[in-house]
């Protein structure tokens, strides 16, 4: 037997839906060998997740599968498509495990994280429960969850998006499987943690010869980790080859387009020369112009969002835990403020507070000049009519029982437009427009959220946020699940709209490339505190805080060669931190 761990041959997956059959995967062949990392990239909705789900036989009941998916169990290859469920159980987790794309809903809400991780251990190993639990804590630690002992006793809803994603990764690593299928394992992670996870995966591959099927849209990650790349489009693999070859000399038109769309990574750090991608996006100049104007300080513009010394607490096991400490932020009309920071640093929490979903224990949130906390009833509604929201969890924030069209039209239904109710036809027209803007096919409005891919759902959420003409947009990781080409287009839509409407925007993201490209100013959060803020260009080119520099250095570049350099630079920086803290680091 060769080293083949996974062999997919002529795989076809078709979904039966109300609106007819949806072919998701159309005859793909793929092989993953021991110790190899195969990256599956491609357009959002091209069938990456479906392919990875089929590896573990986890497709929903509405899927029809033909072809074969063989997994190597010891020396035998077993076809997942034909193996009955009760035998698959033995393979899952032990031979192959999976990291799911949407970590927010992937965890059981009523079970502690420790138990959920320990369960994976207990499924395949005969160890005492206590041992399994210890192992769970170790796993949580290895994926970079702070205070793993305490976190093990917490429930999923008490974690940030990135933390949950790491728990899901911990589960996948639990039994040291021969193959890990990781579906966008780092989408919700900030770059530093992402770098850590990538290091972890790399060491697994290197030491245990674990095979990795990595689905991702982040070309930087591909460049950093992958040996081979398969590019998917429209359910087919259009190009497959070694990483250097595909990334540097793409053969297929689609691959080229994809790479073209990669946003320019920010400078790695002040000490590292940034290797600019030769293909800078044309739109980026526009962004820079506007950045320039903001930097000039146009304080006459109306303040649409004003956080004044806001502190936010959560209550965990009866104790108050501070998530955000005395945060000051302002967003002016027409301004885009990027909020970046480590996973779990309180970005989403701050975002929720802006919308009045959390009441600050200190300080005040002024939305369009009014305190959200004090606004009630009609006043509150009128206030929120001018605010668009994108939630971090694209799946969870869509009502599973409503058609996508209804969800997108919901703000219209709530607020009408210009103080008037819209007719059904008007709504339908607006929904079409929005779907088109976020590059979703017509007809999508008649399907349900679960029938979409992760990236598609995220775009649905974005479409909903833009349905009205907001004066303020609070977007929590609005593009994390998008492949670069779609992301580029969506960002362009955002930018155009922004130019047209002049809304203010709080843009929460861990993707520094996007932040760099899009925002005028940036604020950096760490452990709930604002550590640095200023014009994006300034902060990114000359970070005052070591933390910021570290963040920047962690951004992987989409060029394998360049990425190797960046990685080394980052490691240097990290070790340098121990020796001599950068001047001006206020801790």
């Amino acid at each position: 037997m060769s080293d083949v761990v996974l062999r997919i041959a002529d795989l076809n997956v078709t979904f039966t839906t109300d609106s007819g059959d949806v072919p998701a995967v159309r005859g793909i062949d793929l092989e993953v060998r021991r110790g190899r990392v195969v990256a599956l990239v491609g357009e959002s909705g091209s069938g990456k997740s479906v392919t990875s789900l089929s590896v573990l036989g986890l497709l929903p009941g509405t899927a029809r599968v033909t072809g074969s998916v063989e997994l190597a169990d010891g020396d035998t290859l077993r076809d997942v498509v034909t193996t009955p469920e009760d035998q698959l159980v033995d393979l899952r987790g032990r031979v192959a495990s999976m990291v799911f794309q949407e970590p927010m809903t992937a965890l059981n809400p009523t079970m502690t994280l420790g138990d959920q991780v320990a369960e994976a251990v207990l499924n395949h190993e005969r160890v005492p429960r206590a041992v399994a639990r210890e192992r769970a804590v170790e796993l949580l630690r290895s994926v970079g969850i702070p205070e793993p002992e305490r976190r093990a006793g917490q429930y999923p809803h008490e974690l940030s998006g990135g933390q949950r994603q790491r728990v899901v990764i911990a589960i996948a690593l639990a039994c040291e499987p021969r193959l890990i299928v990781a579906d966008e394992p780092t989408t919700a992670l900030d770059v530093t943690v992402q770098a850590g996870i990538l290091d972890l995966l790399r060491s697994l591959v290197a030491e245990r010869e674990t095979a990795l099927l990595l689905v991702t849209h982040n070309m930087g990650v591909v460049a950093d980790l992958a040996d081979e790349v398969a590019v998917m489009s429209g359910g087919r693999i259009v190009e497959h080859g070694l990483v250097d070859q595909v990334l540097l000399e793409p053969a297929h038109a689609y691959t080229r387009a994809l790479l073209d769309a990669v946003p320019e990574p920010p400078p790695a750090s002040s000490t590292t020369a940034s290797r600019r991608s030769s293909l800078s996006r044309p739109g980026s100049t526009g962004a820079e112009v506007s950045t320039g104007s903001t930097a000039g300080g146009d304080d006459a513009r109306e303040v649409v969002l004003d956080l004044r010394g806001v502190s936010l607490d959560y209550r965990v096991q009866g104790r108050h835990v501070r998530a955000v400490e005395r945060l000051d932020l302002t967003v002016r009309a027409g301004e885009m403020l990027g909020l970046v920071g480590e996973s779990g640093s309180g970005k989403s929490t701050a975002g929720r507070a802006c919308l009045g979903l959390l009441t600050p224990s200190e300080g005040e949130v002024l939305l369009l000049g009014t305190s959200v906390a004090r606004a009630r009833g009609r006043a509150r509604r009128r206030l929120l009519a001018d605010v668009g929201v994108v939630f971090q969890d694209p799946g969870g924030s869509l009502d599973p029982r409503r058609l996508v069209g209804e969800s997108i039209a919901e703000p219209l239904a709530i607020h009408g437009r210009d103080g008037r109710r819209l007719t059904a036809a008007e709504k339908r027209a607006r929904v079409r427009e929005l779907l088109d803007a976020v590059r979703l096919p017509a007809g999508a409005e008649r399907r349900y959220p679960h029938e979409f891919s992760g990236g598609q759902r995220q775009r649905i959420g974005l479409a909903r946020a833009l349905a009205l003409r907001p004066r303020l947009l609070v977007a929590d990781e609005p593009t994390s699940a998008l492949d670069v080409s779609v992301q580029a287009e969506v960002l362009q839509v955002l930018r155009d709209l922004h130019a047209e409407l002049g809304f203010g925007c709080l843009f929460i993201s861990h993707d520094l490339g996007v932040v760099h490209e899009l925002t005028d100013r940036v604020a950096v959060l760490r452990s709930g505190r604002l550590v640095e803020s200023g014009a994006t260009a300034d902060v990114f080119s000359a970070p005052r805080e070591l933390y910021t520099a570290e963040l920047l250095a962690s951004v992987p570049a989409p060029d394998p060669v360049a990425q190797r350099e960046r990685r080394e630079a980052r490691l240097r920086l990290a070790s340098g931190e121990d020796v001599a803290p950068a001047p001006g680091a206020a801790r």
Partner: protein
């Protein structure tokens, strides 16, 4: 609206100035309990006022019912004077309240017993029988409902559904009759009467006689609970976490048992909270059919014969059971689903 923002998720309680960490925990729950107990007292008080008012709104008063159609006006007047019924309703209520607070529920008009004796005699028996039915029912219904959900839209599911519906739409009385006819009078397997005798021990000593009444009481509950269980399980089987659990290599059975079951118990827990007052109130039909005098019968005959003190006593017992049931259901749900713990504050 002056309440907290509802959309605040479960355990999140932002906006409260942070008290010392550890005391906050106990204080939070302790305060919740105190508040609930106070609310419960109000409920019980209100219920007693309503029932009292309704009783006195009934035309004619209790005398006719107690003394019968042959009673003379003098006797009726004497009866009313003796029982304080000639006083203003408010005074009557206050004196009832005063006595209840000292634990004296008064004497039955008809039973030649004090109300507390009458209740003390029947309550344990009723609790035993209905409690057994409930336990049996839950033991059958929960697995049955889960099984049906797992086998959704297969023949078994249809058959069990139909069975549950048939069982539910059969009047309990008829069901009991059928069981007696088949299992007792034709097959001779079990006695047709529930265990006779006063004490719990005596009742428990006759397990064969318990079978039919417990079964009769359990069948409708099985039907109810299994339907709710099926539905809730179906909801949860569609959740993403099920897929995650399966991906870990957890066998489907275990996924259902360890993950889905717990998350699907919400309606059953809510129903269980509701069954507590039912247990205290007794199951009239079973008691009537199986010659097992309990709370149901006590209440029913008191209602029929205008035995006000007994009626009020029973209602008090039932209201206490209601508020306790509702509290327990809330606590259990919070225990099962950490997201809802915000409600406990």
């Amino acid at each position: 609206m002056t309440t907290a923002i509802p959309a605040q998720s479960g355990a999140v309680e932002a906006g409260v100035a942070a008290p010392p960490p550890v005391r906050a925990a106990r204080g939070g729950f302790g305060r919740f309990l105190i508040r609930r107990v106070l609310q419960s007292l109000v409920v019980i008080l209100v219920v007693s006022v309503i029932v009292f008012a309704l009783l006195h709104a009934l035309p004619g008063g209790p005398a006719r019912g107690v003394l019968g159609q042959q009673a003379s006006p003098e006797q009726i007047a004497a009866f009313e004077a003796a029982n304080g019924l000639d006083q203003p309703v408010v005074l009557q209520y206050l004196s009832f309240l005063g006595r209840s607070l000292t634990g004296d529920l008064g004497d039955s008009y008809l039973l030649n017993q004090s109300v507390s004796d009458a209740i003390a005699l029947r309550l344990p028996k009723t609790l035993l029988l209905t409690g057994l039915s409930l336990v049996v029912a839950v033991l059958i219904a929960v697995p049955a409902g889960v099984y049906q959900a797992v086998r959704r839209n297969r023949a078994v599911d249809y058959w069990l559904s139909t069975l549950a519906i048939v069982a539910y739409s059969t009047p309990t009385f008829f069901l009991g009759m059928l069981l007696i006819l088949l299992l007792s009078q034709t097959a001779g397997l079990f006695p047709a009467a529930a265990p006779q005798g006063t004490g719990i021990a005596e009742v428990l000593a006759q397990p064969a006689a318990l079978v039919l009444p417990v079964l009769t009481g359990a069948v409708p509950i099985v039907a109810t609970f299994s339907r709710y269980m099926r539905s809730a399980t179906l909801d949860n089987l569609g959740e993403d976490y099920v897929r995650t659990a399966r991906a870990k290599g957890t066998a489907y059975r275990r996924v259902v048992l360890r993950h889905v079951l717990r998350n699907s118990l919400t309606p059953v827990v809510a129903m269980l909270g509701y069954y507590l007052p039912v247990m205290f109130g007794g199951a009239l039909v079973v008691e009537q059919l199986f010659n097992y005098p309990g709370m149901g019968l006590l209440f029913w005959s008191a209602a029929q014969s205008s035995d006000f003190p007994v009626l009020l006593g029973c209602v008090l017992v039932i209201s206490v059971a209601t508020v306790v049931g509702s509290l327990v259901a809330d606590l259990v749900q919070a225990l099962l689903d950490p997201r809802t713990r915000g409600g406990l504050r």
